[in-house]
Symmetry: C2
Subunit: 128 residues, 2 copies
DNA sequence: TATTGTTATACTCTATAACTATA
DNA sequence: TATAGTTATAGAGTATAACAATA
């Protein structure tokens, strides 16, 4: 049942966000960088349960498209600090506007109380 | 959150059922054939949301390993009827014995009432 | 020596087009 | 002509190993 629900959400996501070129993965990456400017790739990968090499490949594309930039940390020159460019900030802001109608459409069979319950139960099973 | 929960269940599944060589996909396929002997590949694919060509590849492996057999329908010789062999029935029966402890472990953070609620809400979002 | 990030690469899963045999 | 099943193949997602730079 989890797989079927997730499939529905991903299919709906591609419909809703196709015009912006956002995927579930890139949306999540943008949102985390927006809320945690300077987050290193390693933290981002473990938070989103992505393998570092797979994340790096996505980050390379996002950087060469001009959506994010990488700064080397002053204190530890191995570490990378991820930031949104103005172009990237604009993209995720546009995406954020589609989020509420998207969630509403996916969760339409549930009341608002049930929607909160579902989120709470899922969060207990696998906390973010 | 759905993706993270599903990831947890799949990882737990591989741990629990590794000894039997069952995957989430093959478990579901065996269970559907067991409960619906003679089910055609097309119905199986749409029920489990698998593309027919991808399902066929799995069915080929399951058949050449001796777990299932294909019968041509008498009434429509294009149609295939899927059946478990005794070997396949034995395998899914062994798998079924692991199912309750597996679900219990994955859903440990929830009370029994909450477990039923979660299943009901997921089923409303994307009915089987 | 250990850690962060990166590259290269293989493997699984998923998607599309085209073919066959029956209807 | 249309349908059920199948094959071949391409693409996306995910995995591991090895390397460079820095600590």
């Amino acid at each position: 049942m989890l797989r079927l629900a997730q499939l529905k959400f991903f299919e709906g996501f591609y419909e809703e966000f196709a015009a912006l070129g956002l995927t579930p993965a890139t949306y999540a990456i943008f949102a985390v960088i927006r809320d945690n400017p300077g987050v290193p790739p390693s933290s981002l990968a473990s938070l989103l349960r992505l393998r570092l090499p797979n994340l790096i490949k996505i980050l390379n594309e996002l950087e060469s498209s001009g959506f994010i930039k990488r700064n080397r940390s002053k204190s530890d020159r191995r570490a990378v600090e991820l930031m949104l460019t103005p172009k990237g900030a604009k993209l995720i802001a546009e995406g954020a506007r589609l989020t509420e109608p998207y969630n509403e459409r996916m969760l339409a069979p549930l009341t608002e109380t049930e929607q909160r319950t579902l989120l709470e139960l899922l969060n207990r099973i696998s906390p973010l």
